[in-house]
């Protein structure tokens, strides 16, 4: 397994000018990213929808690379979006998934069949032309340039240590530095998107 923060630091070296939706990795990404106006740290608007949001964004901005750090809990909840992504085939969509095998934000209870799911096989079966899985950071770091060099959609499952939170929600660190509306507005301004 790898630590999400370490993995995101490795990714950041290869980010280029991609839009990044850090998903549940946002708590770490806000301290790593150097291109804040191209980040969409949305937190958790509603569980299971990150993949669909990223799909919509990738379809809207086909010239811009869109990178999503999804989670296995979200993918389990909204799994059928893999079919829609595969059908639409956005070449600019890079779909990473953090698999910590649990619902970390609710105390670490295991997701269904937590340790025995081959998500990359599911993605491939749904129709993604390329899908990978990594549990060690070194191997991921070596493969990442190749993953990003080819057109999407591509799915990459990453085994990560859980960042389990047990405090009441009101006592947790507030890591989002902007509202969701503001983050979207900043990206639109950066890319000169009329909305």
């Amino acid at each position: 397994m790898m630590y999400t923060a370490d993995m995101l630091k490795v990714f950041n070296e290869h980010r280029g000018d991609a839009i990044v939706i850090p998903g549940r990795g946002g708590i770490f990404w806000v301290d790593i990213s150097k291109r804040v106006n191209l980040d969409l740290p949305l937190g958790d608007p509603a569980m299971g929808g990150h993949g669909a949001f990223a799909l919509g964004l990738a379809l809207a901005l086909p010239e811009r690379r869109v990178v999503l750090f999804d989670s296995e809990g979200d993918v389990q909840m909204g799994m059928s979006i893999l079919l829609s992504v595969a059908e639409q085939r956005p070449a600019n969509f890079y779909h990473f998934m953090l698999d910590n095998e649990c619902y970390a934000t609710t105390g670490g209870q295991p997701v269904p069949n937590a340790k025995n799911v081959a998500y990359e096989a599911i993605a491939r079966g749904a129709g993604y032309p390329r899908a990978f899985a990594f549990s060690e950071l070194d191997a991921f770091g070596k493969a990442l340039p190749g993953i990003l060099a080819e057109p999407g959609p591509v799915f990459t499952a990453l085994k990560v240590h859980p960042n389990i939170q047990n405090q009441p929600i009101g006592q947790r660190r507030r890591w989002m530095t902007r509202t969701r509306d503001q983050a979207i507005l900043d990206m639109q301004r950066e890319l000169r998107i009329a909305a």
Partner: protein, 174 residues
Amino acid sequence: MNDAVVTTAQLSPEVVLNELKKQKVTHVVWLPDSETNWLYLLMKAEPSLHLVAVAREGLACSTAAGLAAGGKTPVILIQNTGLMESGDSIRGWLLGLSVPVVMMVGLRGWTRHGVTTDTAAVYTEPFLNAFGLKYYIVESDADANRIGVAFEEARKSKRPVVVLVADEFHGFNR
């Protein structure tokens, strides 16, 4: 009611499509029900529309949110059964991200007159009211300008607005 009246009171798919084009809709995010076949064929043949099929209605909300964030003009086309399934996505992705989108929702079970027995129709308006969503009922071609009103309302309020398509069982299907 005679047959001629029934015929002229229909909502034709061509009229719906024309309204979408007038509003410069770019993407239709949808999950069909069994009665939308002719609208599907027309949409598919329309080069200005990009169809995005989803397999669960809540995902239509988050897909539309992404499209809107990227500057596009999506419309969501689902049935009332799926609308109710989408509650948390409407809350989080559409209302939470202030997405100005029109949701065209087939009002399954709508009877207008008499007793409504289909619970899909019974719960639809209470559901929309619970979420504070403004809605317009469109029953026939004569009501079609309400689709434009809904788009204008969505743009002004930066919120989702619903068009309840209350001619599901013969309008789209000719």
